[in-house]
Each structure stands twice: as C-alpha cells, then as structure tokens.
Amino acid sequence: MFEAFDATLIARIQFAFTVSFHIIFPAFSIGLASYLAVLEGLWLWKNDDVYLELFNFWKTIFAVAFGMGVVSGIVMSYQFGTNWSVFSDKAGPVIGPLMGYEVLTAFFLEAGFLGVMLFGLNRVGPRLHFLATAMVAFGTLISATWILAVNSWMQTPAGFSVNEAGQFVPVDWWAVIFNPSFPYRLVHMVLAAYLTTAFVVGACGAWHLLRNTAPRRARTMFSMAMWMAAIVAPIQIFAGDQHGLNTLEHQPAKVMAMEGHYQSHPDGAPLILFGIPNFDDKRVDYAIEIPKLSSLILKHSLDAPLAGLDTIPEQLQPPVGIVFWSFRVMLLMGFSMLGIGLWSLWCRYRGTLHTNDWLHRIAVLMGPAGFVAVLAGWITTEVGRQPYTVYGHLMTADSVSPIETPAVGASLIAFIIVYFLVFGAGTFYILRLMARLPRDTLPELGEGPIRTAGVTPGPAQPHGGQHGH
C-alpha cells in the first residue's frame, strides 16, 4: 500500500506528524507553567484565595497537558536515531550536546519538582511549594532555550567544521548556540507560548463569564488573559517582523516562498495578500496585492529590488504552496489576537470587560488561535528550510535512515492511530476540566482531599495533621 511513497517521504510525514502533535503541548505548558507561578506568587503576596483556587484549577489541567508533552517528547528524542540516522551521525556532535544540556538543565528540573508541585503542598508548605512551581516554570523556559538553539542551528548553522567522516564538528560553541537566527526564534516562540496560553485561559474565563458559573474566578482569569493579549500581541508582531528580516538575510529562499515571489522584482516588490501559488507556471494566480509594500516591509524602501525564486535552482527551492499558506494563516491569527487585545483594552476603558457578551463569545472562539498560529508558524519555518535538514549543508534526502518503506509505513500508521486516540482523549479531558470551574461559594467537588485546599483559607491541612512525618 506504500508503493506510491518513498521511505524518505513517509519518514518526513512521520516526523512532521509526531513533532506537530508534540509542539502543541509545550506551547501550552510553557505559558501555563509561568501562569501557575504567577498565580501562586499572587496568592502568597496578596493572600487572596481566588488565586489559590485558580492555581488548583489550572494545576490539574497542567498535569494532563504536561503528561502528554512528556510522552510525545520521549518519542522525539528517539526518532532522530530511528528515522534520521545519517543526520544523527553527522549532526549529533553539534546538536547532541545541546539536547544533552536540555535534559540536564531542564527536563530533570521540571520532572523533579513537578511531583512536589502537583502532590506536595501539604508536605512542604506554601513557600517551598512556590519554589517548586517556579522551578517547573523556569525549567520549561530553559528547555525552550536549548531546543530552539538546536532548531536555529539547523536553520542557520554556524561555528562548525566538517571532519573526514562527514560529521559536523563543533569549533566555537558560542557561535553554535548563538547562531544568527537563535535570539529571534527564541523570543518569537516564547512569546507565542505565552499568547497561546493567554488565549486558552481567556477562552475559559469568557466561557464561564457567559455561563455566569463562577464570576469572581472567571473575571480574574479573563482579565489577566486579556492584559497578556493586549501587551504581548503587539510585541509578538514586532518580534515576528524582526525574525522575518533575519530570515531574509540568512534564508532568502524561505522568504521568497512565504511572499509568493516566484519572479524577481528589480524595482519594488508587491505584498501579495492572498492568491493561489501556481507551481507549473511559476506565478500566483488571482493575487490580491499591494504594490511595493513587500519591499517597504522587508527593505524599508518602496523601490528596493527583491530577488525571487527565479534566482534559486528549482531543486533547492522550498515547496511554495505550503509555506505561502501557512505563513498567511499565522499572520491572520496574529492580527486577530492583536484585535482581541485592543478590543479588550477598549472594553476595559469603558468598564464593560466583564459584561460584553460579544467580546466573550469571540474570545471563546479564539481559544485555539494560539495553537493554530504556532503550528502554522512552525510549518512555515520548517517546510521553508527544505530541501535541507542542516540549511545549505545537508540535504533532507541524504539524512534519512536506511529503513525499508513498509517498516516506516507501519510505524506511521501506528503513531497516527495512537496519537489521535490518546491525545484526542487527553484534549477531551482537558476541555471537560475547563468546563467544570467550580462555583465560587460551594465546596469543590474534587475526588481527593488535597484539591479541597482550594476552598479553605491558607495552606489547608484537610485531615487536620501533617502527612508523612
């Protein structure tokens, strides 16, 4: 049944599928871990139990999402070897140590303190518990830093030489880690994670405001989320613009594909808003375009010349259709988020933030916007890196493991079935948890004792004593 595909294509589909599922969870848990740390910090500082209640509510959701992130992440750490063995052999000496540092500095930190954060409030007391929460949040950020250094090195490799075995060999670690695209990509991704979480929290708050179940908690989280949206969305658009300029400098072919510039424009390139890339005729059909705007954005000059894909040999061009569309989807999400942020500021100014039903309805609708934007953005940058794995130095076709097509095909099918089943169930459970924000004044209907700490003042000891001493 796989005759139509070659093993490389199936391996690529498998990697794209597993990494796309995986990135959903960190994109949420990076932001949520920080949000939890803020909530617990506010609880300790202001001694207002609404923050502890929100902390306990989101903590349970975090546990489910984090668990999914862990198990889908273990797959990633082995898939380089199983399916991209040549890439692993050649690039391992450079990117392997960075991933090693990710495990040593981040994964152990998260895992070590996660147990204390989830189960240990009664055992260690509020201050040490806050430290554990902060460590988990810090760990997610360190993890993002290392793995984005790895990805950025694959996009804009630096600080290496090649030995006689064909391996990339580190020459200057500083240059490897702080490769040209790393700072931009890191900022762009961390902000994306924060925005993603803000819109999930915002949607959850808006849902409960519409249903009027737990007004105080819903108002608090909705307000916090909308502050994030209003502040971070414009910063993110600026960061994205800077990232784009960086890409133009180091990976011009990717930007050409994003812009749909099949042809060079010697005196000012148009910005194509929408259109249908036509691979055969090398042009964008039905294009709606604004003359010279692309040159203005990318070169800060209306008449600046911009080279097109006609300057790149066809076998070295990224697939234009995918990159063109995914980039526009990301932009649409980004500007919609900015719109919500500004709208919320206006409502806040008018005093209708918690009463404007339309704002709440749209905010519920925008709940998944961050995930869509993150996936679209990653598709843009990863597909835009093609046909290379290590940009300019190692072709994707030369990176793959010598594994027969049926073996890869079978594993791909297994991953698809298991991921939809397992992560589908997980998403369902998360949505159900979000829908069950306990009412403000009633005792929480948890299944176990520790969660009842959410409705009693202070670090409650529900069984009237210390545990485990």
Binding site: F80, G100, Y101, V103, L104, T105, F107, S401, S411
Partner: protein
C-alpha cells in the same frame, strides 16, 4: 589530551541507563502488576506510590537517548535503526502508560480503559526493552557507518527470553517497591508476588547468563578466559548473596530490604552485561572509541554533566524524600 573522554562518557551513559533501568524499572513493574490487583482502592494506592516520581525516572531514558546522540552519535545512528520495531513499540507503550497517570483520574466510565493502558503499556515497554537488550547482546552488523542487517534481526529466541526476563525482573522491582510503600493486605499480596518473581528472575538471569557466552566468541573468551574469568565466580556469588537478602527480607517482613536486594540483582546483572560488552558499545561492530563524537563535543557536555548530575541527584533525592514512607491511602491530589 591524556584524559580518555570516550571512556568517561561510556561510564556516564552506562550510569544513566542503569539509573533508568532501576528507577523506571520499579514504576513499570507497578504497572505490570496492575492486573494482579483487581481492587480499585489497591490500584489507586499503587499508582499514587509512583505518581510523583515516574516522570523523573523516565527522564533518565531521555538522557540515555539524547546523551547517546551527543557523545556516541554513530552508536545512536546504528542501534536505533537496527532495533526499529522494538523501539517504536517501547515508545508507544510508554505513551499509553504515561498518560494513564492523569487520565485514569479524569473519568469514571473510562477508568478501566486507562487501567489497561497502564498495565499493557508498562508490560509492552518492558518487553520491548528486553527485546532490544537481547538484540544488542546478539550483535548488530555495521558497515560504512550504517546498520546493514535485516528488519527482523531483533526477533530471535534469545531476545524473546531477554524480553520476558525484563518483564519478570521489573515485576520483582515493582513488587518489592510495593512492599516498601504500602501496608496491610496490599503489602501481603506484594510479598507473595515478590517471592514468585524472585525465583522467576533468578531463573531468567541464569538462562540468559548461560546462553550469552555462546552467542559471540568474545563473550565466551571474556567469561572463561583468564583473568576475566574471576568475574565468572564473583558475580554469581554476589547474585546469590542478593538473592539470600531478598528472600530473607520478604520472609522476615522487612520494608526496605527486599527492594534494595532486588536493586542489587539488577545492578549485578547490568555489570555482567557491561563486562561482556567492554570495549564494545555496539557489539561486535563498534568500540567505544569508534563511535565517540569528537573530543570538542565530549568535553563541552562533560563540563555540564560533572556539575549538573550531582545537583540532579540531590534534588531527585529530595523529591523522593518529600514522598518518603508508606503511601497514605487518603492522600493524593486526585
């Protein structure tokens, strides 16, 4: 440079894999034993006994994978394709049992599903790890920096035996862990199971040990040639010592002694494999030095490992300390 970086790293990777085997061994073992405890209450306690630490335990597996890619990229790039099917099976098993820790508490109607996912996933992951171990011991052919064997090479009578051996061994670790962490009827059942698993584990270790030397001439020479044959006497004696402590500990209703003795068995088995392998990392094709990354990579990560591994061990120990003692059946955030 006088320091033999590849050798140091071989030791560190071996340590990290050992840490993984003994730590995730007991929490996978708890999953393997799930079907033997049909009561929901027992299962809740069993799961809560490992819930705060399983994630940290599995991080050693990520360190094993990520670390291998960093310091022995050629081993990573040849072993994983050679063991493609068992590795994928292990990953899928770990997915099912990993999510079960949270999912199981999120539904009443579907709880039985996640009980099965926890038990089945744990067993599958353990069996796949044993298969992978057996296939690695049997040897992996490498030419021109690539695996050149077939796609079913990992499946042999020997690897099936090692697969079963790991399942039984993890079950022993899990049972002795439960003896240490639980009370009453649950702990009593765990004692009965631990006793049976002890004999099964020793039998499996014996079969694998007697079989291994005849797989590769190198192993035969190692175990029956002078002076390494000394180990052929010492290691089995130590194994018997551990077995004695294990059985006595179970009989005398010690809380921790059975678990420690079971860990000892695993460490000894692991040392035995290490003695057989040295100096190969992918027997019989690649030595530690063949597969090592350039010194620049080894040195860079070693600096971090030397500083960070002790810190990691310290806060991991702290996390275990926070949850020390018997599991309180009423506790758990769920």
């Amino acid at each position: 440079m006088d320091i033999d970086l590849p050798l140091i790293w071989a030791g560190l990777i071996a340590f990290s894999v050992l840490a993984y085997v003994v730590l995730d061994g007991f929490d996978l073992g708890v999953g393997i034993l799930f079907p033997l405890f049909p009561e929901k209450h027992d299962r809740d306690v069993m799961m809560n006994s490992v819930a705060p630490v399983w994630d940290g335990n599995e991080t050693w597996l990520v360190l094993g994978g990520g670390g291998l890619m960093a310091v022995f990229p050629l081993a990573y790039a040849t072993v994983l394709p050679a063991l493609y099917a068992p590795i994928i099976a292990m990953l899928l098993g770990l997915i099912f049992r990993g999510v079960a820790f949270e999912y199981r508490w999120r539904t009443r109607r579907g709880e039985f599903l996640w009980n099965w996912a926890f038990a089945g996933g744990s067993t599958l992951a353990a069996f796949a790890q044993g298969l992978a171990l057996g296939a690695l011991v049997q040897g992996i052919p490498v030419e021109d920096r690539a695996y050149v064997g077939g796609w079913w090479d990992w499946l042999t009578p020997f690897s099936i035996v090692t697969g079963l051996a790991i399942v039984v061994g993890y079950a022993l670790l899990g049972a002795t862990w439960l003896i240490m962490k639980t009370r009453g009827a649950l702990a009593d059942s765990a004692r009965t199971i631990a006793l049976r698993c002890s004999f099964a584990t020793i039998a499996a270790m014996g079969i694998v040990s007697l079989w291994t030397p005849f797989l590769e001439p190198v192993y035969l020479e190692r175990w029956f040639g002078w002076p390494t044959a000394i180990f052929s006497v010492i290691v089995p004696l130590l194994v018997l010592g551990c077995l004695y402590l294990l059985l006595n500990g179970i009989r005398d209703r010690h809380d921790t002694q059975p678990f420690i003795a079971a860990l000892g068995l695993f460490v000894l088995g692991y040392i035995g494999i290490g003695i057989s392998f040295y100096p190969y990392i992918v027997p019989p094709s690649l030595t530690i030095w063949d597969a090592a990354a350039p010194d620049g990579s080894l040195a860079f990560l070693l600096v971090g490992a030397v500083i960070l591994v002790p810190i990691i061990l310290a806060y991991t120990a702290y996390a275990y300390w926070v949850f020390r003692g018997k599991v309180d059946p009423e506790e758990g955030y769920h």
